[in-house]
């Protein structure tokens, strides 16, 4: 059981990432594809946070915890996850703006129908 718990969070991250990739490749709708890309990115949040976890530790915020009294989780990967979330949100917004333009110019959201070049 212990051996499973040692790697389970990493495997969950890999599984979430692959599930997102599968959705991205088989998507029939661009909005759905943008959602799948977000799922891929969620896999990286899970990976980062599980790399930083420490048994029995609390959040690395010392406003109500005396420094040194308890172990804390790794703050570096938490900050990286915050960066990841922000970049993910902006990329999603930009992609959705592109999807709106595609829908207006081509009248479809199915990526398979966009294969022929136009104008």
């Amino acid at each position: 059981m212990r051996a499973v718990m040692d790697v389970l969070p990493y495997l969950v991250a890999a599984w979430v990432f692959l599930a997102g990739c599968y959705g991205l490749a088989t998507s029939r709708n661009l909005i759905h594809a943008v959602g799948c890309l977000s799922v891929c990115q969620v896999g990286t949040y899970v990976l980062l946070l599980s790399v930083g976890y420490r048994d029995g530790a609390t959040a690395p915020v010392f406003s109500d915890v005396k420094p040194g009294s308890r172990p804390v989780v790794d703050p570096v990967v938490q900050a990286l996850t915050l960066t990841d979330v922000v970049v993910g949100a902006t990329v999603t917004a930009l992609l959705l703006a592109l999807v709106i333009q595609v829908a207006k110019r081509h009248g479809t959201l199915d990526p398979d129908e966009l294969s022929e070049l136009r104008g």
Binding site: L8, Y10, P60, F62, V77, V85
Partner: protein
């Protein structure tokens, strides 16, 4: 390539990638292990500079230069959205019809709006002490304003949300962050180095040197960016219509 063939190629590639990922996971340091050399050093550096929230210290002190890059990504993404979602010559603006709002929704939205806005500002202001900071608080404050759209209607939202002012605030906050960095250069140290201001007393609002200031700049930038983004998307959904036919 047919959909079926494509699916088989995907499955083959996915199986290979999955095998590699599992092999990599098995060699990673065990989950929950005791060895976190970077984390320990980050906590030590944060406490030495009187910043209670280590994550803010990592973002706005130890990695302040990387946060400048992150802020630039946010800024350019907003710029890209504004350009992509502008009104084109074959579209026109229609005044949105005032919509009926159910009285409980209206009451709830109007009660929660000031509370949510205040919480957003609180989260920004206490970024160096408690969980949160400019990024999180900025999003809370910006979305709080949009409760007015749920509780009243689009015209009411547009009255309290002059998009031009938020665009200017966004740009000012982004340059404010840069100016803080240049102030470090003029003060004789390095770009964005947190050595300019006194570190203050641990666990008080004015602790952490430049961390609260950079935090506030990011909060203002994120709030402006989210308001501008949502305004562009709402314009597309509510106001802008195609000229002819559909």
């Amino acid at each position: 390539m047919t959909r079926r063939a494509r699916l088989w190629v995907l499955l083959a590639g996915g199986a290979g990638l999955a095998a590699l990922l599992v092999a990599a996971c098995l060699r990673l340091p065990h989950f929950g292990g005791k060895s976190h050399p970077y984390g320990d050093r980050a906590v030590h550096a944060s406490l030495a500079r009187q910043t209670a929230n280590t994550i803010s210290s990592v973002n706005f002190d130890q990695r302040a230069f990387d946060t400048l890059g992150e802020m630039t990504i946010l800024f350019s993404a907003v710029l890209g959205c504004v350009i992509l979602l502008r009104q084109t010559h074959d579209e026109h603006r229609a005044r949105p019809e005032p919509a009926e709002v159910a009285p409980p929704v209206r009451r709830y939205a109007l009660v929660v709006l000031p509370v949510a806005l205040l919480s957003g500002l609180y989260v920004i202001a206490h970024g160096q002490l408690s969980p949160g900071g400019g990024f999180q608080g900025g999003v809370v404050a910006a979305t709080a304003l949009h409760l007015l759209y749920l509780g009243a209607d689009y015209a009411a939202l547009e009255r309290i949300r002059p998009v031009g002012a938020y665009e200017v605030a966004d740009a000012l906050a982004a340059s404010g962050y840069l100016v803080m960095g240049i102030a470090g250069l003029i003060g004789g140290t390095a770009f964005l180095a947190n050595t300019l201001l006194p570190y203050g007393t641990f666990n008080t609002l004015s602790s952490g040197g430049t961390v609260p200031l950079l935090n506030a700049a990011i909060g203002m930038e994120v709030a402006g960016a989210v308001v501008v983004l949502l305004a562009r998307f709402l314009d597309q959904a509510v106001e802008i219509e195609e000229e002819s036919g559909t």
